[in-house]
Each structure stands twice: as structure tokens, then as C-alpha cells.
């Protein structure tokens, strides 16, 4: 054979290098490839602008009373999270939509869907104000979900178990305000999804989704609170400290905000706990008149609008 030792070693090492490259094709190479393919932030911004300019749906608001404790079994008497959107302050800029998309990894939609107004955005613009799932206390979507994928948490959130959703879209058909979005496209395969936030999973094709009131933020805060509390109690180890910390032994979700309320420059979106007197939500809505869309006014919504002073 016409191959000397130098040639032989060279080809051997080439094969080894190729093998090594092949072995790590999954992790680093994939990541690099995906960075190039993924949609840019600019695309997300453009889509939000398009959605805001296309928004046609109107809201028919009626007065509602202040949300109280939930009546579902197992509901917490301490927490019921919700939001109030101040229509006097809101100028319909659409910043909240972009913030929500980034927080919750909401994917882009293909062009023909965008032309038809079929966006995946959890927050819509209706009558020039942000509108999202109202997390109704008597949610009609949860009642008709055959698998229990749509269900209520004890803290008053209307939650989704993505892995249990069969995609029957019954909840979407039964939502009087069409707040639910269905994943018609495989956004990950089409390169339309981008994982801005590691804490929120990307949703599969064929699954329903909607506003979660930034459930992961609440969950993180709850765990942090409980861990710190028990560490503090264990460290102090005596009863008097326990008693001193009594008023802070229950988690009320203080200090948590949603992405949309963070993003609002005019502070028109207020997140909080309807059952907590110290919550900004309760304090700021004290002397305001609350409104909700007519279709869901009877369903005990947690997300309401406010306008004018009493």
C-alpha cells in the first residue's frame, strides 16, 4: 500500500476529529444553528405593531362589583390573584403585548395567519386597551374541558396543563370573549418560536394556551417565601420568634408583578391579590368604578377594567 506512517496518522486523526464533531453535533452545533434561525426581536416588535394596528374587536363594558373569595372547592381564603386595567391611564401603546410575548415565549405566526388576524398573543388590543383572559371564578372553559387540562388553581388562576390537553378546542368555543389561543402551527419547527424565558416551556402544536397571569413568577415567589420562612424558624428555634413572625407566615404573593404590568410605563395595569388589604390592587381600586366585558360580567372575572372615580 502506498501510505507512509505520516499519512496514516494524519488520516486516523482526521477520522477521530470527524467522529468527535459528529458526537457533539447535538449540543453546541444545534445551538449555533438555532441562534441563526430563531426570529429576531425586531420581528416580534413588528408583529405586535401589526396586531395593534389591525385590532378591531370592541369591548362592551358593564359595571361589576369587586371580586371576592372564590367558591370552588379547595379555594384559598387568602389569595385570589387578578388585575385591574386603568382605562383612564392606558394609551394603547402595545408595550404590554411585547413584554408578555417575551415573558411567556409566545411564538410568531406565519404571514397568512397574521393577515387574518390570527395571532398567538395572550394580550389583545380591544377598544384601544389591553385585554386578556379574565380568569373567571366560574370559568366556562374549565367546565367543558374533557380532560381537565383547563382547571382552577386554589389561588384563583385559570390554569392550563399543556401535557393533558387533547386539543378538542371545546374551551375555545365556550369562551364568550375568545381569550384562548390555539397552536395551529408547529412554531418550533417553522422557526417562529424563541425561548426568551427559560422558565416557561414552548407549547406543542395542537394545544390551547392563554394568559397564565405569569404563574411561574407567583410559584417562584411562593417557594422562596416558604423556604425562607422555614429556614428562619429553624434557625431561631424558639416559639417567640414564631409568634413575632405570625403576620408573615402566610404567603400572600406580595411584591409579585406580571410582565405586562412591569412593562406599562403609565402604570395602567395593576396586578395584585384581591383578598389582601395591603395589595396595590386593592388599594388602587378602592375608590374606582370597576367594569368587565358584558359577556363575562356574570362569570366573576378576576381581571377587570376601571374608569372614573367614585
Amino acid at each position: 500500500m502506498g501510505m507512509d506512517r505520516r499519512e496514516f496518522i494524519k488520516s486516523c486523526s482526521l477520522v477521530a476529529v470527524m467522529g468527535l464533531l459528529y458526537g457533539c453535533r447535538k449540543l453546541p452545533l444545534d445551538e449555533v444553528a438555532r441562534l441563526g434561525d430563531g426570529p429576531t426581536l425586531k420581528q416580534f416588535e413588528d408583529e405586535v405593531k401589526l396586531a395593534v394596528s389591525q385590532a378591531k374587536k370592541q369591548l362592551d363594558l358593564v359595571k361589576v362589583s369587586r371580586p371576592g373569595p372564590l367558591s370552588i372547592p379547595g379555594a384559598s381564603p387568602l389569595n385570589r390573584f387578578g388585575m385591574a386595567i386603568d382605562l383612564d391611564l392606558c394609551d394603547g401603546c402595545g408595550e404590554c403585548i411585547l413584554a408578555c410575548n417575551k415573558e411567556n415565549n409566545v411564538p410568531l405566526v406565519p404571514e397568512d395567519d397574521a393577515a387574518r388576524g390570527r395571532f398567538m398573543h395572550w394580550v389583545d388590543m380591544r377598544s384601544g386597551a389591553p385585554f386578556m383572559c379574565a380568569h373567571c371564578g366560574k370559568a366556562p372553559c374549565e367546565r367543558v374541558c374533557p380532560t381537565g387540562a383547563a382547571n382552577h388553581t386554589p389561588d384563583g388562576l385559570s390554569a392550563m396543563v399543556y401535557k393533558r390537553c387533547a386539543g378538542s378546542r371545546f374551551c375555545g368555543a365556550n369562551c364568550p370573549v375568545q381569550a384562548r389561543k390555539f397552536n395551529f402551527n408547529d412554531a418550533q419547527k417553522l422557526g417562529l418560536a424563541r425561548k426568551f424565558n427559560k422558565e416557561v416551556p414552548l407549547r406543542d402544536k395542537g394545544v390551547m394556551e392563554k394568559c397564565s397571569l405569569c404563574l411561574h413568577r407567583l410559584q417562584n415567589d411562593r417557594l422562596k417565601f416558604k423556604t425562607q420562612l422555614s429556614v428562619a424558624v429553624a434557625a431561631a428555634g424558639n416559639v417567640s420568634v414564631k409568634n413575632a413572625a405570625e403576620n408573615a407566615t402566610e404567603w400572600r404573593g406580595r411584591g409579585v408583578t406580571t410582565a405586562c404590568s412591569d412593562a406599562c410605563k403609565r402604570r395602567a395595569i395593576i396586578f395584585g391579590n384581591w383578598l389582601d388589604e395591603k395589595s396595590p390592587l386593592v388599594q388602587l381600586t378602592k375608590d374606582r368604578v370597576l367594569y368587565a366585558p358584558r359577556e363575562i360580567a356574570d362569570l366573576d372575572p378576576s381581571v377587570v377594567f376601571m374608569r372614573g372615580r367614585r
Binding site: 387574518r116 367543558v144 374541558c145 387533547a166 422558565e199 423556604t227
Partner: protein, 590 residues
Amino acid sequence: MFRYLMLAGLALFLPGLCALGYSLYEGPSAWMLDSRTFWGTPISLFVFWVGLAHAGTLLSAVFLALDIKLDRRTALIAELSTLASLVFAGIFPLMHLGYLQNFYMVAPFLDARGNFANVSSPLVWDFCCIAVYAILSLLFFVMHLKARVNPALDKYRKPMAWLLFPLVLWVHTVVSLDFATTFVPEWRGAFFPVYFIAGAIFSGIALVNLLLCTEGYRVRLLERLQLICSWILCAIWFWDFLLKGTFFASAFIFAGVLPQLRLVSVFRENRWGRAALSVSVLFGLFLERFYLVSPEYGTSSSFGWIDLGLVAFSVGGFMLLFFGVRRLLNRYAENAGAYFGEVDGSDMAKVEEAEDAERVAASGLGVEKSKKGFYIQPWSSEEYRILRFPLLVGIAVALIFVVWAWGQLPFVNVELSLANVLPLVYPVMALATVMTLLARIYFVEKSFVLHRREKILGVAILILAGACAGTFFAGGASETSGASVDVAAFGENTNVDLAQSALVWNARCATCHGRDGKFNEKFVREYYPVPPKLDLPRLDSLGTDSLVKVVLNGRVNMSAYANRLTPAEAYGLVNYMRSLAARDSGEGAR
């Protein structure tokens, strides 16, 4: 004749199959949808075919139960059309799902994690009712075929007919509740069950009339019924219009106006004329279902190729299936003429007489048969005596099932009232009753003997059904148990050393928790919210005892291991987990 119809069906079916394949691949965006139409064509086709599926049972069972004479050929055709329609009524709700793999979660069975379907959802009622209806219709058809050979079975047909009669109404009531329980303004109304049942019977009769045209004879009773049904439906449409102002002009023309041409003798006496009337009714009723399911049709969306393909798939598939079976029966069944027969109607009376005589001889009900009209059998009659015990069994099973299902919830926060479970009562009862009835036939009737081939088929079906049920019903094998194991009783048990715990950890826990005690990212990222990391401060804050409790009794996403691990092993695992976390935090510090 049947061959050409079969080929025509095939010609429609094949492109339709492509459309079906594409919509399965592409998902729900393949067909027409808009912001207010979440369901679209497949569900309108589902309602349409379920309606057609009522023809057989209505005409055969209800007429049999009420002693209205219908000859065997017509009844068999109707029953066969039911079965063929049910196939498509079953396909569409499945293919319209966004996430087809999860379809079994709709069945009211416990899965391994103890999750139950949400019984307050009309979809769950649908699933049960239609499944039971399909099984019972198939058994009714087979029994009808068998009764021809073995007259002893004839007396069992009527009790079965009495069970199927309410089931027809029940199934379509439940289908209408899919719509009537929602918040869509166009779908609301307490009259919806009546509306849907009337529409279903109307379309079913039109289908049977159309099929009779292909057979080459006519049954005037059914034609008259078709006309009467059109009046009833027009009245309901008028009511709907007064209430909500919805009115579907084209559906009204095709299914309300054109059927009145039966009053003109030229149409009535011509075979093609009769066929055209039936087709017009079917077309009109399909349009009506379509407009109903897609309330915004025309304004923001339009019918596409895939929608047409799906329609072609079901129509062609029905023709293929129906005429295919029809030809098979013609060829292989002995004395086929007596089952169906290409007769022009002249010897209808004879067949009927012969059947009548046969039935009278078999059941010994000569006295009661002589009475005419709607005569409901008294409690002492033969058929009631046959039905009595199976019915008791059925009621008992239904009660047990309903009480059991009432206690099962998909999640603890779901509120379930007894009324939510009631729609399941009758189907379960009918299923249990018919099964008991069949057992009685098998054990009591001496003349009823199964061939070897039939026995093998029966056993195969039983095994298959058992396998299906076993796959879906895992009985909550790893459910979080309500009765907690008391940990304090065991004390801090450390006789399991770390090496041994490491083995158990790698075997039992590592799939989710990872060998290094950090989460297996591939698996855990699917959870939302993401479960908290088990680092040292968190483990300390939870405490050993409560962690052992979680291992044994389960919590949220964690399965219960009480019957797979001893408390000592659980203690060992917690210690091992702590050592992993300590090692991890040590590395972090360095």
C-alpha cells in the same frame, strides 16, 4: 348496480383520503376556521353522520318495538347504513383533535396517575354514548342476521329494540348538548335536543329512502314520514328564527321546500325523482349543520379544498363501505334474496306474511300480534320476562358506575354535581343489560350454537377489548394516596447505607431527578411551572420527615412509592439526596 356505486364511492374516497391525510399532518389549520369557528367542517360532518346513523335503529328498533310493520330487507338496509355511518361519525371527532395522542384522556377511565376525565364536559358524554351506541347497533345487526337462521333468537330482538329506542334519543340529545351548553349565542336554547333529534331522524329517513331507490323498491310509509319530518323541522326552524333571528336560506330551500315536491305525483312515482328528493334533503341538512357549526361562515372564511375533500372522504367512504358489505352479503350469505333481494315490490307482501307467521310461531305471541296500532306490551309479556333480569343487572351496574364516577375528579378543584354524571347512566345501563341478555342467549338457548370460526372471532374481540380497556384503565396505580403513611412511627432509620441508596436512586428516581440529583432537564422542562430545584437550603427547609412522607405518599408531580419502597429505603433515599445536594453546593462554593 352496486358495483358501479362502489366504484363511484371509491372515486370520491381516494382524493378524500388525501385530504384526510393532509389534515391529520397539518392539524386543525388545514380546514376552514376563523376567530369564532374553532371546530369547522369535521364537527359539522360528525353531527351529520351521527344523525344519519340514527336511521337504522330508528326504523328497525323503534318500529319493531312499537309493532309497526317493516319488512326485513328494509330493516337490514337501515341497520347496515347505521353501522357504516357510525364509522365516519367516529372518525371525525377523533381527527379534529389538535393532539390526537391524548384522545384516550376523554374516556372516563382512571389512568396510572389517578387522573380522571372531566365528567361534566359534554365531550365525555359524547364519547361514552357513541361508543355504546356503536357496540349495541352492531350486536343488533348481527342478531338480526342470525335470527334469520335461528328463529329462536327472534324473541330477543324486541327486548333489544326497547333498549335501543331510548338510546337513539339519548345519543342525539347528548350531541345537541355539545352545543346547547356553551356560551355561543347561536347555539343556546333548551329546544336543541328536540331540534337535533328531529333533524337526525329526518336525515336518517332520507338516507334510507335513497338507499331503497338503489335497491329498486320503495316503502311508502317512509316517504310519508320524510315529508312529515320536513314539516316538523320547518316548524323548529321558524321557532329558532323567532327566538334568535338565525335563518339558513339554502338549508331551508333544500330540506324544507324541495321535499314538498313529493306531493307532485311525477316526482313521487319516478325512481330518480324520489332519489333526487332524498339527496336534496341530505344536502340541505348538511348545509344546516355546517352553518350552525361555523356561525361566521361567509364573512371571514370560506370553504376550501380540504373541506371538500373531507366531505368527499365521508360520502365516498360510506358508499364504499355500505355497497361493499351489501355485495358481500349478496354473494356469500345463503339465500341472499330473503335478506335483501332485488325485488320490485310485488312480492313484498308475501315476505312480510312469511315473516309474520315465523315470528308468531317462534314467540307464541299470536294473540297480541292480532291487535293493531301502537300497542305497548304489558308487564307480563314474553319480552318483558326476558328483559327483567338483564335490566336489573344493567341498572345496578349503571348506579355503581355513576356513584364511582361521581367520586372521581380530574383535579381536586373541580366541582362536580350528580347531574353532570347523569348523562352516562343510560348508555352504561343499556350496555350492561345487553351483555347480560347475550349471556342469557348463550347459556339458556339450546338451539344457539356458535360455529368454530365465530367462537374464535368472539374470543379475539374479547381479548382485544380487554387489552384496550387495560391500556386505558390503569386504575391509578401510582396515585398520590389520600391515606398517608405515618412516618414518625419509624423514627430516623439509617440502616440503609448510602451505596445501597444510590442503587435505588439510580433505578427509581434518576429518570426524573437525574443521577446527580439535579433534574433531568429533558423531562422536567415539560412541566409548567418548572418544579423547584432541590438544593441544600430547600431540602433543609423541608426537613427529613416531610421528605420521606413525600417519597412514600406522593405530592403534586411526585408519584407515591409507599408500596414499592420500605420507609427505611425512603429514609436512605432522602439521606442520599441530601448528600448529592451537599456535594453540589460544595462544588458551587469552590
